[in-house]
């Protein structure tokens, strides 16, 4: 089953796509990356994800799997030779899933809202909420890592991937707004984790560079605005 061809539909600056890329790299899975144009979705994308019409989509053989965290779990369950992504104990798996869901439902959307914020006041409020979330995630990291380098312990795990995907946008915002979101006083452990994560083989050519990302997002926002006029 693991030998069928693998394609990933996505674009390089999406946190959701980055997550899948980390997982594919972690398991050393050969794959074809098909860059999508979000404002002009391909036939393949619409056919593969007719319900949400969103990236990432992993196509394994001819079977599409959608939604980033779903795809990461799928990869973990199919490619069992490589390092495990999810922890083995159900309680630890529950903890990983809980925080990944927190990131997706409560925290990551804030980052996009920062990019979209038109006024300084709203941006400041949002940045404060981002920081509050990071303080919670710092505590989660300390608990999950048990003194090791990653949420997953000695190696990158599910929660590393879930949060690691967000590092592109997080660093982009730090540059854009000239702020520090991960800092030595409030989130020292996460600051260290981010550095370790970004220099890991699975992540280093995936996490977008802040300047390149911000330029691309600015262009996208302009195009999206023009398209709706």
């Amino acid at each position: 089953m693991a030998t069928k061809p693998v394609k990933l539909l996505g674009f390089w600056d999406s946190p959701y796509v980055n997550r899948v890329q980390f997982a594919l790299n972690l398991k050393s899975i050969d794959h074809e990356f098909i860059e999508e144009n979000i404002l002009s979705k391909s036939e393949l994308l619409l056919r593969s994800n007719p319900v949400q019409k969103k990236i990432p989509v992993l196509i394994h053989g001819d079977e599409p799997i959608c939604e980033s965290l779903n795809i990461v779990q799928y990869i973990d369950e199919v490619w069992t030779d490589g390092p495990s992504i999810l922890p083995s104990h159900p309680r630890d798996r529950a903890m990983s899933r809980f925080w990944a869901a927190y990131i997706d439902e409560k925290w990551l959307p804030l980052l996009w809202e920062v990019y979209e914020a038109k006024e300084e006041d709203s941006r400041t409020t949002l940045l404060e909420k981002v920081r509050e979330g990071l303080v919670l995630l710092e505590a989660a990291f300390v608990k999950c890592s048990k003194g090791k380098a990653f949420f997953g312990g000695d190696s990158i795990g599910y929660l590393d991937i879930a949060l690691g995907g967000c590092l592109g946008w997080l660093k982009g915002i730090e540059k854009l707004a000239s702020v520090k979101l991960l800092d030595e006083t409030k989130t020292p452990a996460l600051l260290g984790w981010a550095e370790t994560f970004c220099s890991n083989e699975a992540a280093k050519n995936v996490v977008p560079e802040p300047e390149k990302l911000n330029k691309c997002l600015k262009e996208f926002q302009a195009q999206a605005a023009a398209a709706t006029k």
Partner: protein
């Protein structure tokens, strides 16, 4: 000796999901009803991030968030699996469970809270979502195949409570004419023994959603508890 407790609230479909899963697995548990206007210290201790039910306590350790709890139950008690074994089918089930949880439930919930001005628009959105679900169900008895699985469990609100509430409020969102397959699914679902065991009494449900309240400002303590729990959408600007 396994000790399993569930902190819940009788109307909550998220809590119901957990109860159904526990019943499918034949797990004995103690149910603790929470007063959402006066949350217990244990609830706040076990779920400090969200302070919400359901909370499953297994041998003193809390698991929170209904979807996380369902996966935990399935991974801890291996009998009567609620997720397929095949990774692709499992991914499909997770996708659809998320769709029901993130797209269907909020859309249906909005119709209940609609003012008369908002209703048609909210109803249109709910109909769209239900149509997608009806297509996915296709000719299957349940989303899980021959027996109920995670998607059916997460859709429990559609399967029972929503039909009861919409009848009480005289809404016309989920009808047998519009969604014949989903309607039949709901009948079969509500009659399954793990589901029947934990359904809220129909008359109690109806009594708490009187037609008079549709779109009105929340005044009763029950309505306030519902608001605290489910954070209904802000009124249209």
């Amino acid at each position: 000796m396994e000790e399993v407790k569930l902190f819940g609230y009788w109307v909550s479909p998220f809590c119901r999901s957990v109860e159904i899963a526990l019943n499918i697995k034949g797990i004995q548990y103690e149910y603790i009803e929470e007063d959402l206007t006066n949350k217990s210290p244990q609830l706040l201790q076990y779920n400090p991030v969200y302070k919400k039910i359901p909370v499953l306590l297994h041998n003193g350790k809390p698991i929170v968030e209904s979807m996380v709890i369902l996966e935990y139950i399935d991974e801890t008690w291996k009998n009567n699996p609620i997720l397929p074994e095949d990774p692709f089918e499992k991914a499909r089930a997770r996708f659809w469970a998320n769709f029901v949880d993130q797209k269907c439930f909020p859309a249906l919930w909005k119709t209940i809270w609609s003012t008369s001005e908002q209703y048609e628009q909210n109803k249109a959105e709910a109909l769209e979502r239900l149509k997608v679900l009806e297509n996915e169900l296709g000719g299957k008895r349940f989303f899980g195949g021959d027996s109920i699985g995670m998607v059916d469990i997460v859709a429990n609100f559609i399967g029972f409570s929503f039909r009861t509430i919409q009848e009480a409020l005289k809404l016309d969102v989920f009808t047998e004419d519009n969604f014949p397959k989903l309607w039949e699914w709901a009948e079969n679902f509500a009659n399954c023994s793990p589901v029947k065991k934990c359904l809220p009494p129909q008359d109690k449900l109806i009594a708490n959603f009187p037609p008079a309240y549709m779109g009105k400002t929340l005044v009763s303590s029950f309505q306030s508890r519902l608001q605290l729990q489910f954070h209904p959408p802000a009124a249209a600007k």
